[in-house]
């Protein structure tokens, strides 16, 4: 009852050839070219739908999550009100301290902390549709000052960096992606190295440079600021497991990140992160 398969096979060959041509183009070009504009168009088509779906379904998800907590809400409310009173005082004190600190930093010519520059808050509207890549679409783009290679954090620590950007959206590569890497340093010590993603729930791998570096479990790991992307001092995580000899290259250091990458709703893009590194280089 259906058509013969002859033309179907021809059509199949045509589209297989097309796919292979696209794969080849991708290998040849890397960044830019027609595939880049195709990418931007596809994001521009899907992003508005993502944004709509996120607006509709996030409250629903949150509603179901909070049903179980109804009973404790009233007591929580009272407790939180009291807490806010206290915190307002704290904020005033902190503001005064911040002013002093800024003055001192200027005097002593220290690097400004990464939180000092301009930031933009962004909502996560979608994620990379593959199970082997970890990236998030956010609702801020070049119109809001977001550029490629800017650092992205949240209140817990380093989230990742912006890898592509359109006028209204940007794609953030998470630190847990196997292709993501950042210059890292053991907190309070000089030992530097590189941190690399392993996928979700697999921890991050830390590779230290130099054979006389020391590392212990529960050491804090922060960005080193030596990779030209991330400003120094952003918290990454805690050293969780160390296996093998420190003097051997096959040593494995697993770092547990602070950020919960499965529950990213809002992130902060550090707009000054690139500029800061550039000016640092000029002065040196």
């Amino acid at each position: 009852m259906y058509r013969r398969n002859g033309r179907g096979r021809l059509l199949l060959l045509v589209f297989i050839a097309l796919s292979i041509i696209i794969i080849t183009l991708d290998f040849r070009q890397g960044d830019g070219g027609p595939l880049q504009s195709a990418k931007e168009i596809s994001v521009a088509v899907v992003a508005p739908i993502q944004r709509g779906l996120t607006t509709i379904f996030r409250p629903v998800g949150n509603f179901f999550a909070s049903i179980g907590e109804l009973g404790s809400l009233r007591t929580d409310n009272a407790r939180l009100k009291a807490q806010v009173e206290g915190m307002e005082q704290e904020v005033k004190r902190a503001e005064a301290l911040e002013d002093d600190f800024a003055a001192l930093t200027r005097l002593s010519k220290l690097d400004a902390p990464y939180t000092a520059g301009e930031q933009v808050f962004a909502q996560v509207i979608g994620l990379s549709p593959s199970n082997y890549r970890w990236a998030r679409f956010i609702d801020k783009g070049t119109d809001d000052g977001v550029r490629k290679d800017m650092a992205v954090i949240n209140s817990d620590g380093l989230v990742g960096k912006v890898i592509s950007v359109t006028p209204g959206n940007a794609l953030v590569l998470l630190l847990i992606d196997p292709k993501a890497a950042a210059g890292a340093r053991i907190e309070n010590r000089r030992d530097t190295g590189k941190i690399q993603g392993n996928g979700e729930d697999q921890g991050l791998s830390l590779e230290l440079i130099g054979s006389n570096s020391e590392v212990f479990e529960a050491d804090g790991v922060v960005t080193s600021g030596q990779d030209g992307v991330f400003p120094p001092g952003i918290p990454i995580g805690l050293v969780d497991q160390i296996s093998g000899d420190i003097r051997r290259p096959d040593q494995q250091i697993i770092v547990q990140p602070w950020v919960d990458f499965t529950a990213l709703d809002y992130v902060i893009v550090l707009l000054d992160s690139r500029v800061e590194v550039a000016s640092e280089r000029e002065t040196k």
């Binding site: 259906y2 058509r3 398969n5 033309r7 179907g8 021809l10 059509l11 199949l12 045509v14 589209f15 297989i16 097309l18 796919s19 292979i20 041509i21 696209i22 794969i23 183009l25 991708d26 290998f27 890397g30 960044d31 595939l35 195709a38 990418k39 596809s42 994001v43 088509v45 899907v46 739908i49 993502q50 779906l53 996120t54 379904f57 996030r58 998800g61 509207i125 979608g126 994620l127 990379s128 549709p129 593959s130 199970n131 082997y132 890549r133 990236a135 679409f137 890898i163 592509s164 794609l171 590569l173 992606d177 196997p178 292709k179 392993n198 996928g199 979700e200 729930d201 697999q202 499965t262």
Partner: protein, 188 residues
């Protein structure tokens, strides 16, 4: 149909596809892609996202045959490729989905009865093949990859999740496919 058929003996490659039908199928694929990257990220099983776009492609292949299946597969795969961060191979999902769209469409002609179990079982088997071949091809082409145990876990869970989604997606796709089906014009 409003489109001009140049020669009645040599119909266009897509057969009896009308404009309304093409846009309906395209809309389903785009929405499925957006759903996969938003809503379903709240409903993951152990952190694994179901590949609902793949399910949609296979359902179209089931209702409309190999040719529609492979064209849907190509464009849906390409859309998915274009949503990925750089470092993934663009065109790989397009290739794999084209092949699966064609194969499922061919397979349908050997399944006589109209039971909902046939598409469900087909999706289960085909998802396993698709996920395994995508992983193999990506590793062979030198993409940075996660550990193999993780890959195996992901493949298992995606098969489970896709299988569970098929009874929901298939009637929906069939409705769209039937609604916009123009009066069949058979040109042999």
């Amino acid at each position: 149909m409003s489109s001009v058929v140049k020669e009645p003996r040599a119909p266009n490659v897509l057969g009896d596809l009308g404009i309304g039908r093409v846009s309906a199928i395209a809309a389903v694929i785009v929405v499925a892609s957006a759903v996969q990257s938003t809503v379903l990220s709240y409903a993951t099983i152990l952190g694994v996202i179901p590949q609902v776009v793949l399910v949609v492609v296979m359902c179209f292949a089931f209702t409309d045959g190999a040719r529609v299946g492979l064209v849907c597969g190509f464009f849906a795969g390409l859309l998915q490729d274009l949503q990925l961060p750089e470092g993934s191979i663009i065109g790989l999902y397009a290739l794999v989905y084209t092949l699966v769209g064609y194969s499922v469409g061919q397979l349908r002609e050997f399944t006589p009865e109209e039971s909902v179990w046939t598409p469900v079982l087909t999706v289960a088997a085909a998802t396993a093949v698709v996920e395994a071949s995508y992983a193999t091809l990506a590793i062979m082409l030198g993409q940075e990859w996660v550990s193999l145990t993780f890959t195996a876990k992901v493949i298992g869970l995606v098969v489970l999740y896709n299988t569970l989604l098929t009874p929901l997606v298939f009637p929906l796709v069939r409705k769209v496919a039937d609604r916009f089906r123009p009066e069949r014009v058979y040109r042999w």
